[in-house]
Symmetry: C2
Subunit: 336 residues, 2 copies
């Protein structure tokens, strides 16, 4: 089996590659598991050394649209594509044309290339909870369900939602076997702050654990629909495995989420790393960030994902403990 | 004021042009009405003679994508665009690439050209009730609301829904002042049968009134969300007039519909043209057409359109009478 992962050198893409390579085989749409012969990582950046060292990994570097137009990817015989590459929301908002090219045009080119394979490969598309949003002044979103009408409030969300529609129709036509999933806000992301407005959902845990101060630009009552990295990856993997009947509708599926609040997140940090950790949190709301984050969904239902056997993280404590266990080098404080 | 109507030589486009030219002036987004200096009709076909003879009309013929790429349209100074041109559902289903080009690529090129004007013209986009649909075996759609999640079951519906998203984001960015409307099934269309699966919604009235037989390929209990030509045009006109506040959300708005059944339509025909007319109806259901038509919405709510002061046709009798009054040359039977 040959698998293509776009954005394969990124945090989630590389983690997905490691998960698939570790299991060694994979079942597509309910078929008997087959050995994974090759995982192609397409990305702007270089593959992490551990992946580059795996003989089953081929790394292809460059802008994805170029790679597709040069026919570098998808290779003939590609059985499954995980399409994670995207320009992120801030980029799309700052440069409309870049977003349309990186997200809409690139996805369409990749879908066309998959159609040209003639083998209807599995195509797991990473959409985003960012398709949901509300305009300033509108009532709160309430609980978002799989069949809630998305009303994106940014170009990134619009572009992801357009791609969901393309994936659905390419699937209906039999060009691919598409599955669009909407990952939640991933916490705790390792590494450095990335400047995204949502960055504090990871930074408020990661920085204090490293002994550094972290600013929380919103009030403690702000809600968040979160998922750990491992829960998110489990959703991607299961999407490719599900039979067509299990998958059901061609519309996008919300991945499992833990509904929590920023205040509860801080309390979990204190339970695990003590007052030494929570004392590093600077509660200084920024009115514009607070308003923006409150326009995002705080509670997302995931009935379809539940029916597939997927589970949300049990609580935020376990999310923090997952981060600590996986990133011991980044933790300077004593933890319980 | 300069107005561009794409698909301007078609049935609805020409009727819209006549309506605007007859009123002579038009109010955009609540502003003081201004004189209409020019109406440009862009279409594959030639403008009807009555419109071509109007000195305020300019007719531009060719595939819309070519016209936009050659910068024939929109002309500098265009204040409002009514984008009605589209490949129809059967074409889109038979030729996927044609549909993507005619609907998605063409709309995007037109939006880009409007953006390049730098004046954020009003952009009324004719989407379609065809964005709604259900898969075979799914439960009936029930009542469709403005905020029901569309699940298009054909490429045409997907393409229209993608264009709704583009119009919303071009509007949010301030490139245009976009208003997407979803016209209902228009009945009674004059002229010849066009081969569309929905064609009988007009043919079952039009043909008997002309003394010809008409086949009804579905059962009398099949529901339909209908609008007369004049009700449909009123929706287009009002969309451009509404202030931004009146318009509200950037998502598409369902136009008013009359919820009726095929059986009630036949009864209205008999009330107006007697048993001589209803005797010309051949009730011979075609299983596949019946199934297809039952997958369409039979009842569509239109709260936003109602708040704009729009009205549905009072009953199907009045729709039939509108057709008879406007097409006396096509009516051979005596009518009451």
């Amino acid at each position: 089996m040959k698998i293509l992962i776009t954005g394969g050198a990124g945090f989630l893409g590389a983690r997905l590659a490691r998960t698939l390579l570790a299991q060694g085989e994979y079942s597509l749409r309910g078929a008997t598991p087959r050995r994974i012969e090759q995982v192609v990582l397409a990305d702007l950046g270089a593959a992490p050394p551990d992946l580059a060292a795996d003989p089953r990994v081929r790394s292809v570097q460059g802008p994805l649209l170029d790679l597709v137009q040069r026919r570098d990817v998808p290779a003939a015989g590609t059985d499954a594509v995980f399409h994670l590459a995207a320009a992120v929301s801030a980029e799309c908002e700052a440069d409309f044309d870049l977003g349309m090219r990186s997200n809409v045009d690139t996805t369409r080119a990749l879908l066309e290339a998959c159609r040209a394979l003639g083998t209807a490969p599995v195509f797991v598309f990473a959409s985003s909870v960012g398709v949901f949003g509300r305009r300033p002044g509108d009532p709160p979103l309430g609980v978002i369900a799989d069949d809630t009408l998305p009303t994106p409030q940014g170009s990134y969300g619009i572009q992801k939602f357009i791609c969901e529609q393309l994936v659905a129709d390419y699937t209906r036509k039999g060009f691919i076997a598409g599955r669009s999933v909407r990952p939640m806000t991933v916490s705790v992301r390792p590494g450095r702050p990335n400047g995204a407005a949502s960055g504090f959902f990871s930074g408020m845990i990661r920085e204090p654990l490293a002994g550094e101060r972290a600013r929380i630009p919103v009030g403690p009552d702000v809600g968040a629909a979160l998922a750990s990295p491992s829960s998110t990856i489990a959703g991607f993997v299961r999407a490719g495995e599900a039979t067509d009947t299990e998958w059901g509708h061609r519309t996008a599926m919300n991945l499992p989420s833990l509904a929590t609040t920023v205040g509860e997140m801080a309390a979990a940090l204190e339970r695990i790393a003590g007052k030494q950790a929570s004392a590093l949190l600077d509660w200084s709301p920024d009115a514009s960030v607070d308003r923006l984050v409150r326009s995002w969904p705080g509670e997302v239902a995931w009935e379809r994902a539940r029916a597939l056997g997927l589970k949300a993280d049990a609580d935020f404590d376990s999310i923090v403990r997952q981060y600590i266990a996986e990133n011991p080098q980044a933790v300077r404080l004593a933890v319980r």
